[in-house]
């Protein structure tokens, strides 16, 4: 009984950490890649080396990767305590909703009714897959 409770606490704490870290990481990475510009066009004009250097010199990219690192290890921790069929969808569905809020606020994306419906449908669908 106690072991079951500890397992639940570890699982959901890790999932919360995944959601917070990956939402922050996604917003930072999205901002960084908009700053870099269309990678396909840049590669055509300057070559892949210049694109890699340009990406690696963007501070928000490095901060985003650090957040993704935290999210990755939190995910590993969660997977060590519960099945991928619970951890993956639960973390992902909450991250979808978190990202829709964060993208509207921090990236000023036009999160209209169509995109909210998409985020909520996908979040609900991912949750049902658990």
């Amino acid at each position: 009984m106690k072991g079951g409770l500890v397992r639940e606490v570890y699982t959901w704490s890790s999932i919360l950490a995944v959601v917070l870290a990956s939402t922050t990481g996604d917003v930072l990475l999205s901002h960084a890649m908009k700053k870099v510009g269309d990678v396909g066009e840049l590669r055509r004009w300057h070559g892949i080396g210049a694109v890699v250097v340009r990406v690696l010199r963007t501070k928000t990219f490095l901060a985003g990767v650090a957040c993704m690192g935290v999210a990755f290890y939190s995910l590993l921790l969660a997977l060590s305590w519960n099945d991928v069929s619970l951890v993956g969808p639960a973390a992902a569905s909450l991250t979808f909703v978190g990202n829709a809020f964060a993208a509207g606020i921090f990236l000023h994306e036009n999160v209209d009714r169509r995109r909210w419906l998409a985020a909520l449908f996908v979040a609900a669908g991912v949750f049902l897959l658990a």
Partner: protein, 145 residues
């Protein structure tokens, strides 16, 4: 949207699903890790399945970065969510799990969500518009913005 962009989104979808299922298989071999032995989570990358999973997730990350360079975050995430449907089928055929009625409903909802976002524009706002860091040749290619 052109073929190259669809292929990038397909790469995000496929590499993510395969990477996640490889990580799951590896972590099942590694076993439970408590906060008292947190270093074990770093050593987990020496497991071959976890290492292979990381390689696939690196491929996913590259495709994801390319997609974010020309599309909104709120477009890329739902558009690539079919990976979860793929993950369910991997679980069914590889891990011998059952797909119940609620899982089928989940698959239908995800597919509908992808349909919603795929019908709209991939980019609605550039948070860096006006920044000098976008090279002039790219600005001209984007239509002289």
């Amino acid at each position: 949207m052109n073929l190259r962009k669809y292929l990038v989104l397909a790469g995000v979808t496929l590499f993510s699903a395969i990477g996640d299922s490889l990580l799951s298989q590896g972590m099942k071999q590694v076993g439970n890790i408590s906060l008292a032995h947190l270093s074990h989570v770093i050593l987990a990358i020496t497991n071959p399945w976890v290492a292979l999973g990381i390689l696939f997730l690196l491929a996913f990350f590259s495709c994801y970065m390319v997609a974010l360079s020309w599309a909104d975050l709120t477009y890329v995430l739902p558009a690539t969510s079919l990976g979860y449907v793929l993950l369910a089928f991997i679980a069914k055929y590889h891990l011998q799990e059952q797909i119940t009625t609620s899982r089928w409903l989940g698959i239908v909802l995800i597919t509908a969500g992808v349909g919603f976002v795929a019908g709209g524009p991939e980019k609605t706002h550039d948070p860096t518009r006006g920044h000098a860091e976008v090279p002039p040749e790219v600005v001209s290619l984007r239509g002289g913005r």
